[in-house]
């Protein structure tokens, strides 16, 4: 298959002519593959797709999202996942198969206003998305600071194999939960770290399209932390230095790293459901 280089497209642009399979955000018309959104066109073994640079979150199966409980009926919770559809979390998913609306008090387990990390199990645009929290690292979020960014910036915030988010987490001594829908929850030991992480995240969101972003983020974190380190080219060495210098508690930091890598496996860079 002919390889096309990554390039920017706007709606209506012809990406390529030929017998290719249209995937995301493209249509096929008379043997032409045409973009339907602003983004970066990419080809793979499966076909041609456009990764959008703007727009609202559209749910996809297997996405890990962070949602807010809005309401509950007798059989399910209604969850706001920052999309054009509100999601449903069935009560059986939380209570198990022997759930009975008469016996179990749903409000005690998840009350309106609670935040949950959940995975989308079904969604086909004709019906509202269905969620599950019965997996490792999913479920109610007990504490943290809430932040919303554009869902199109999430892959950039995570970075290649989670490099960006790990840099931020380690430099600011925080743990950042990322939902594919652009909702973040930041937890940390001190407020300064959280504020700094917010700053870094905002920088990533605003300048997501610029090159050399990792260096910019590092500069921001460097300056504010007032660590008089000579600049090293190797980022991993740099990060270890941070940990040794400014955090006496290394154990929790390791846990945080484990967690971020768990979420990163769900990032759209790695898994792209078609």
């Amino acid at each position: 298959m002919l390889e096309i280089k990554k390039r920017y497209v706007i709606p209506g642009d012809v990406i390529i002519e030929g017998n290719y399979r249209p995937l995301m955000n493209v249509i096929k018309k008379d043997n032409f593959i045409i973009a339907t959104r602003i983004g970066i066109a990419e080809s793979s073994k499966d076909g041609i797709k456009v990764i959008p640079l703007s727009g609202v979150y559209i749910p996809r199966i297997n996405d890990i999202v962070i949602g807010k409980i809005v309401d509950n009926s007798s059989l399910s919770w209604e969850v706001d996942i920052n999309a054009c559809f509100s999601a449903h979390l069935p009560a059986q998913d939380v209570f198990g198969r022997d759930f009975s609306p008469a016996k179990d008090d749903m409000k005690k387990r998840l009350a309106p206003g609670d935040l949950v990390t959940a995975r989308i199990i079904t969604f086909d645009r004709t019906r509202d998305p269905m969620l599950t929290i019965q997996e490792k690292d999913l479920g109610k979020i007990s504490n943290g600071e809430f932040l919303k960014i554009s869902s199109t910036r999430v892959p950039r915030l995570i970075g290649k194999r989670g490099s960006m988010i790990q840099t931020i987490e380690q430099a600011t001594q925080t743990r950042i939960l990322i939902g594919q829908n652009g909702i973040l929850v930041v937890t940390g030991k001190n407020d300064e770290g959280i504020a700094l992480a917010f700053k870094a995240i905002k920088l990533v969101e605003e300048e997501a399209h610029t090159s050399n972003l990792t260096q910019k983020v590092k500069d921001l974190l460097n300056v504010s932390e007032e660590i008089t380190q000579t600049e090293t080219n190797n980022s991993s060495v740099n990060n270890e230095d941070y940990v040794n210098n400014s955090n006496p508690d290394n154990n929790s930091n390791n846990m945080e790293n484990d967690h971020s890598s768990n979420i990163n496996t769900e990032s759209p860079k790695d898994v792209q459901p078609h």
């Binding site: 706007i10 709606p11 209506g12 249509i27 339907t36 959104r37 602003i38 640079l53 703007s54 727009g55 609202v56 559209i58 054009c84 559809f85 509100s86 645009r125 004709t126």
Partner: protein
Amino acid sequence: MDQTILIDENGKRTDGRSIDDLRDVKITIGVLKNADGSASIEFGKNKIIVAVYGPREVHPKHMALPDRCVLRCRYHMSPFSTDTRKNPAPSRREVEISKVMREALEPAIMLEDYPRAAIDVFVEVLQADGGSRCAGIAAGHPPERGNGELR
């Protein structure tokens, strides 16, 4: 009998343009932070700002269509957009222009891609100088097609 002269002996219009000259156009996109897409257009002395939201949940719910997205347009002229103050209540004219704009924008959007959702387009005329509906549609197009974030 005095006649209104639209084109003088040099073939110029009263504002100095020749018959095939367009008024100055300036379009900016991404002007509103909280909108999903936005644009402002200056077309001659027209100044129009457009905000696009969505696809988002439809309220009231009964308006939602099971097979496609609903497109809702609102054309509105600010009270200070004309010489004499314009009543801010939507006039017959504005209601009709809203409908016309919706029908002009509908073919440009893949409404069937987002069933049960809504896209809202708000066109606010800050300064009117004739041809504001066309300018509004022109400004509505870029944010709608790309959510206007190509800054």
